[in-house]
């Protein structure tokens, strides 16, 4: 069997998937990164190797996406390094070609993607605030002492509605305490939080956009049935959750890698082999004092002191000093 791999390195999780050349997902793994993206990529790749038993030459191509896409791209040797929006839209369009609106809520970002005729026509991403993302829920679940996995189901058992201010994580908390003191049950408060998140999401990202069905909801938060219910109440339509909702970004990047490899007729992918993963990688950063910009330059150094990648320099002073040049996106 030959496979295309997709890796999505987000702020909270790292997702690794393998897809055969007929777009069937053979392996998918959602790993909580706990602040160690590189370790989790290694872990994911090892799990993948063990699970489907493939060798280096079985890999036809790799795509990476997410906020750590460049770092992971260097680590594994990616053919395609793409932004999250394109990756998510590509995956969704594969499963639901008629999709018009994608809600994607991840750990630290949330996006809305508007599609028409199988093309992205508009998109928005949250900017400076974490309200309206998975971290907001995580934080509140922790405070209430409810495991995040049970959060959604609990919300569905609520009988009454309670309005909780969801603009800011900190103020939501004080509002929640007040509502607890009024005697609302845990389930009702959780439902209120779900509604607050969705309201915030729609106000922030959906502003001035016409949202049309079919609606697709994906990202790690889509596991939460409470949020799904809140979305359905908000838009007044059924909201579809794709089968692989939590690894859609990775699937998208694998599809993009497949398209890229096939369109350009590439025989030898950039994949560096599973053996490469055994090596030690050390991302280091330093402040360049060359000019007043004081760029924070990030360098990935392998165990034998070879500089694998450099980025972050505004002037391009270090661009030529690494093996991999900056090729993202082209």
């Amino acid at each position: 069997m030959k496979y295309y791999l997709g890796i999505d390195i987000g702020s909270v999780s790292t997702n690794v998937i393998a897809m055969d050349d007929r777009y069937n997902v053979c392996f998918n793994q959602y790993i909580r990164a706990n602040g160690q993206p590189l370790e989790s990529v290694k872990k994911g790749m090892t799990m993948l190797k063990d699970a489907i038993g493939c060798e280096d030459e079985d890999i036809l191509g790799i795509g990476t996406t997410g906020s750590g896409r460049e770092l992971a791209g260097v680590l594994v040797g990616a053919d395609v390094i793409k932004n999250e929006i394109t990756a998510h839209a590509t995956a969704t369009l594969h499963y639901h070609p008629d999709a018009r609106t994608i809600f994607e809520i991840g750990g630290q970002d949330s996006k809305i993607i508007i599609l028409q005729d199988g093309m992205v026509t508009d998109f928005a991403m949250n900017t400076v605030c974490a309200a309206g993302t998975g971290s907001f829920l995580d934080h509140q679940a922790e405070r209430l002492g409810v495991p995040i996995e049970e959060f959604g189901d609990l919300a569905l058992t609520a009988e009454k509605d309670v309005r909780i201010a969801g603009r800011c994580t900190v103020f939501a908390e004080s509002d929640m305490i007040a509502k607890q003191q009024y005697g609302f049950s845990k389930a009702e408060i959780i439902k209120g939080l779900c509604t607050a998140l969705v309201r915030n999401y729609i106000n922030n990202l959906g502003r001035a956009k016409t949202l049309k069905p079919p609606f697709i909801f994906q990202g790690g938060v889509a596991a939460n049935v409470g949020i799904r219910k809140a979305f359905e109440d908000e838009v007044g339509e059924k909201v579809i959750i794709p089968k692989y909702y939590n690894v859609m970004g990775a699937i998208g990047s694998a599809i993009l890698a497949k398209e890229y490899i096939e369109d350009n007729n590439i025989k030898k992918p950039a994949f560096k082999g599973f053996g490469q993963l055994e090596l030690e990688f050390k991302p280091t950063s330093f402040e360049c004092g060359g000019c007043s910009n004081m760029c924070e330059v990030i360098r990935v150094i392998s165990s034998d002191n070879e500089v694998l990648a450099v980025w972050g320099d505004k002037c391009g002073k270090y661009a030529g000093t690494s093996k991999a040049s900056k090729t993202a996106g082209r």
Binding site: I85, T127, M294, G329
Partner: protein, 405 residues
């Protein structure tokens, strides 16, 4: 006097002018994170972002001993109108003996304008001043022309960074110029340098073009807008910026009722949706959006400082305009918190969006040779592809004649 100025885009012109007027020029550094931190610390909290960055630059210049800071102002109803006084006040409170001189429109109050000229001209006689102004104008005009050209050609460079490096050398060459003749010679040499850079050949129909509109300071200063233009160029997109210092000078010196420069016409193009100017360049920017759509651009990137009032007015109008013109517009609101990765991700996604739109439009006309021809012809003459196609369709045996029309 030790004189300085805010860093905004290419500053060689200002430097030359002040030098020729006999000032000792304190060169401002391009705004860095440190500059912004300094500016944010000493600025009123809710003032616009450009004020804060300029404040930082002024403080840095004052620390280096600048006695005079020269800038141009916006005597309009937006907050830029109060920049000079507040900047002056903050500098004074910090204990710097630096004077801030800001030139407003010379038509509004010529007397005040001339008073400021007298401070800056440093005893230079008026007839000499005119010659100097002509020399510097020629210099910035030539440099802006080159910069415009670079932002188109850089999209197709084979080795990333070639053009940016060439540009750095060219700026150094211009800094050495003392006479108009030297400037013109350097200009020719610079063109040769650009032509020598290895580039990919890309067909007219495959080219992706993006226009940049927004608040003048953030669109002109690359360190403040996180180098939006270079990121787009590196993604293989041609960029056209609407603000250059030479254009700004022309726009403000040539009377409004004349049909040239182009910015006057563009200014009136937005009459329908923006009958009034709200302060900054909002009406003009709206006009440029219409102009870009007319010329068949694939998209517009709108840059605004966080909470900039005139651009906020535009922001509210853009969704409807974008629909009307069938052209994607992406707004980025910039402030000192903005991360580079953030800007890059959005620009990449935007580029993917306009690329797929561009090629889908083309695919729908594949097999239809007239359609393809019409599209590239339309891009050249700047009208809608459909109109040209309508012209072409009834008389397919004489397309050449129709095209030149």
């Amino acid at each position: 006097m030790k004189a300085s100025f805010p860093h905004m885009g290419c500053v060689t012109g200002y430097k030359k002018l002040l030098e020729k007027l006999g000032h000792e020029v304190i060169m401002p550094d391009p705004p860095s994170q440190k500059t912004m931190e300094l500016g944010v610390k000493y600025s009123p909290e809710f003032i616009c972002f450009p004020f804060k960055v300029m404040m930082g630059t002024y403080i840095e210049c004052a620390q280096k001993g600048a006695e005079l800071i020269v800038s141009s102002g916006g005597a309009g109803p937006c907050r830029a109108g109060m920049y000079p006084d507040v900047h002056q006040k903050v500098l004074q409170e910090l204990g710097y003996n630096t004077r801030v001189v800001v030139f407003d429109s010379l038509f509004q109050d010529f007397h005040a304008f001339y008073e400021k000229v007298k401070i800056v001209k440093n005893g230079t006689p008026n007839y000499k001043l005119l010659g100097l102004a002509k020399f510097c104008y020629n210099l910035i005009k030539k440099m802006d022309k080159l910069e415009k050209r670079m932002k188109i050609m850089r999209a197709y460079e084979i080795n990333q960074g070639d053009f940016s490096n060439a540009w750095k050398d060219i700026v150094k060459m211009f800094e050495k110029c003392e006479t108009t003749r030297e400037v013109n010679r350097t200009y020719k040499k610079a063109l040769e340098i650009f032509d020598a850079v290895p580039c990919r050949k890309v067909e007219e129909s495959q080219r992706i073009r993006v226009g940049i509109v927004g608040e003048i300071y953030v669109i002109m200063e690359p360190t403040v807008n996180k180098n939006v233009e270079e990121i787009l160029n590196n993604l293989g997109v041609e960029v056209e910026n609407v603000q250059y210092i030479s254009d700004w000078v022309e726009h403000n010196i040539v009377p409004q009722w004349l049909p040239f420069p182009k910015s006057h016409r563009v200014f009136r193009m937005s009459d329908k949706v923006a009958p009034l100017n709200c302060g900054g360049h909002d009406k003009e920017n709206m006009g440029w959006v219409y102009d870009f759509a007319k010329r068949g651009f694939d998209g517009v990137v709108h840059l605004m400082p966080f909470a900039c009032l005139p651009e906020l007015v535009n922001l509210g109008k853009f969704p409807a305009i974008s629909k009307e013109l069938n052209m994607p517009i992406m707004s980025l609101s910039l402030d000192e918190q903005m991360g580079e990765a953030h800007v890059k991700t959005r620009l990449e996604a935007f580029t993917d969006l306009i690329k797929s739109k561009h090629f889908a439009k083309q695919r729908s006309t594949i097999g239809d040779a007239i359609g393809l021809k019409a599209q590239s012809a339309a891009r050249k003459v700047g009208s809608k592809a459909q109109e040209v196609k309508d012209n072409l369709a009834p008389a397919p045996h004489t397309p050449a004649k129709q095209l030149t029309k």
